[in-house]
């Protein structure tokens, strides 16, 4: 397993062999409630850090998912089209959204680590 970093918008990115795997955190899926639809980016799409990358729709609301770092989408999790509930049951694992080639690894380093994210979440409640 590579390193995992977090954003204030509750996305996570795990870096494995230079490839970033992106999803939303367990806290985010709890806040959203049952997820009913996920709109994923196109493979090959380029995006800058903070750009709108995906949309997740729950019984409560539709929310944008932002690119945690800049780069290019290399693969999307097709399984989510038929089984959006995977995001609820395994947000940090099988519920990943997309993989990306990372343009600048410094951007990853500037994100929060697990401890900092945990503290951030606790500060919200």
């Amino acid at each position: 397993m590579g390193i995992v970093r977090y954003t204030k918008e509750h996305e996570w990115i795990r870096v494995e062999d230079g490839v970033g795997v992106v999803g939303i955190t367990k806290y985010a899926q709890e806040q959203l409630g049952d997820i009913v639809y996920v709109e994923l980016p196109e493979v090959g799409a380029g995006m800058t850090k903070g750009a709108e990358a995906a949309v997740v729709e729950s019984v409560k609301a539709a929310s944008e998912i932002y690119a945690p770092v800049g780069g290019e989408v290399t693969e999307v999790n097709q399984n989510l089209a038929d089984n959006p509930g995977t995001v609820n049951t395994d947000a940090m694992g099988e519920g990943w959204f997309f993989k990306m080639r990372i343009a600048d690894t410094d951007e990853v380093d500037r994100l929060m680590d697990g401890v900092a994210y945990q503290e951030y979440v606790e500060s919200l409640s």
């Binding site: 049952d34 409560k60 609301a61 959006p84 509930g85």
Partner: protein, 503 residues
């Protein structure tokens, strides 16, 4: 959970169970009995129907009972307090309905010769006139079919005005506290949408707005009062900044019912605003009637308003339907025919029956009622932003912290008490939102009963009776529905069951 009060029929007292109409099919039954046509040339040129069309066979009383039973499962403003408020529909005065049904208005055809509909054109002109007076803006289009369509038409007008001065711009700014349709309309009009954060007071962060304003911004779309029910008090400063940047100021007029008769949007520096006639002017909506979204315009936008336009010519009225007949630069048609004429009749009836003092009182009573809820519930529920509010009051779910009860559970328990729930989980800027808009027509007695119910339920939640909420609703024709399954696997069309295999 098993229903402890199960009956043999599935009916609950006089609340009658009712099957889908197709499941009641008795082939051959019909409400009318017509003689068989005489065989002969049908003149259909071989296009006659070859098979059944799939309508169920039913007797007339069966059909009447079916729709009456369904209607009894419904809840609306004519049944009781409706805290979703004017977004869905506020009370429709019966006078409006009576006037809209006058044969000379209700029986018109949109293609009648203009000379035979002079009264209807005069009515459209009068309705337009009073909407311009109330908003303090010089131009209007009556064509848009509904509020969100009005947003799109307003932005198209702004785009036309900008392009005419050779200054096509690419971005539209939308504050977080604006209505959810605003970013969608800007996107549909081809603009890139940028969000502006709210400040701790639930209003637009003016600093954040100014930081994003530049020569590429076509417009800002602000909702005032905003979707937290708060008046944007920095609106004049916002308007000045927007105009200094060469952009237009679009205001979502959905919440105009909170300020009608008291504030003229034109005086605030607004260039363009749609008016949801159902929200401010009491027309039917939310399944009860079509929307209607006239858009008022400032002087620089007037030449680009869409067609058709009613114009006073001599002693009569003309309908300008073609760009060539206009002295301006209309952006063309945005809807078939002339807009929702029946809604204009009702809105004009409302304005003329209330008069200027009555309309002013509409806004005052709507705001007073919402502030009465705020004052009496603020110690029971939790307020994210300090009051006073405008026509609606926003609470968050922190009063339910550690009770195990969610906003959704709380809303379901209100149904058992005979109240339609308030707006839940919107706006998104607060956690677990409960948004209440009582509207101006509710009496103190009705509001007091609602308040006592909310207080009683909040007490029950804090006393640890989460079960009561998780099981709700218990007394409705259907228990709690599985919203997740309905969203993930929606069944939208009834299909006949597959034929049984022969034994």
């Amino acid at each position: 959970m098993a229903d402890v009060d199960a009956t043999l029929t599935g009916n609950r007292g006089l609340a009658l169970e009712e099957a889908v109409i197709f499941e009641q099919d008795s082939p051959g039954l019909s409400g009318v009995d017509l003689p068989q046509p005489v065989p002969g040339n049908d003149r259909l040129g071989g296009l006659g129907r070859s098979g059944a069309i799939g309508l169920p066979g039913l007797s007339e009383p069966q059909v009447v009972r079916h729709y009456l039973r369904l209607s009894r499962m419904n809840y609306g403003i004519d049944s009781g307090l409706y805290p979703l408020g004017s977004c869905t529909m506020k009370y429709n005065p019966r006078l409006n309905e009576r006037l809209a049904r006058l044969p000379g208005l209700g029986g018109l055809h949109p293609l009648q010769p203009i000379s035979t509909v002079q009264g209807a054109l005069e009515l459209m002109d009068a309705c337009a006139h009073w909407l311009k007076v109330l908003t303090g803006l010089p131009g209007i289009t009556m064509a848009p079919a509904a509020g969100a369509h009005g947003e799109l038409v307003g932005l198209m007008t702004i785009r036309a005005a900008l392009e005419a001065r050779g200054d096509a711009r690419k971005r539209v700014l939308v504050p977080e506290s604006a209505h959810g349709t605003n970013p969608a309309s800007a996107h549909a009009c081809g603009y890139a949408v940028e969000s502006i954060a709210a400040n701790v007071r639930g209003r637009v962060d003016v600093g954040a707005l100014k930081a994003k304003l530049d020569a590429d911004v076509a417009a800002i779309m602000l909702t005032n009062p905003n979707t937290c029910g708060l008046f944007e008090n920095d609106i004049i400063e916002i308007a000045d900044a927007v105009h200094d940047a060469g952009a237009f100021f679009y205001c979502d007029g959905a919440n105009f019912n909170a300020i009608v008769g008291r504030v003229r949007p034109g005086d605030l520096g607004i260039d363009c605003m749609h008016l949801n006639l159902h929200k401010t002017f009491s027309t039917p909506h939310g399944g009860g009637g079509p929307g209607s979204g006239p858009v008022v315009l400032s002087a620089p936008l007037v030449p680009y308003a869409p067609l058709p336009m009613v114009e006073r010519r001599g002693d009569g009225f003309a309908l300008v339907e073609h760009a060539g007949d206009s002295s301006a630069h209309p952006l063309g048609r945005v809807k078939g025919f002339h807009g929702q004429f029946g809604m204009m009749v009702r809105a004009l009836a409302y304005m003329m029956s209330l008069g200027s003092d009555g309309l002013r009182q509409v806004a005052e009573d709507a705001v007073l009622n919402a502030n009465y809820l705020l004052a009496r519930l603020k110690d029971t529920l939790s307020l994210p932003f300090e009051g006073p509010c405008m026509h609606e009051v926003l609470f968050d779910d922190s009063f339910l912290k550690d009770t195990g009860v969610t906003t959704l559970d709380f809303a379901k328990a209100m149904i058992d008490e005979g109240f339609h729930p308030m707006t839940m989980y919107f706006p998104l800027v607060v956690h677990g939102a409960l948004l209440m808009e009582p509207t101006e027509t509710e009496s103190k007695a009705t509001l007091d009963q609602f308040i006592e119910t909310v207080k009683g339920l909040a007490e029950r939640a804090r006393a640890g009776d989460a079960r009561h909420f998780k099981d709700a609703p218990r007394l409705t024709p259907r228990r709690r529905l599985d919203e997740t399954a309905a969203a993930r696997n929606p069944v939208l069309v009834w299909r006949p069951p597959p034929p049984q295999a022969a034994e």
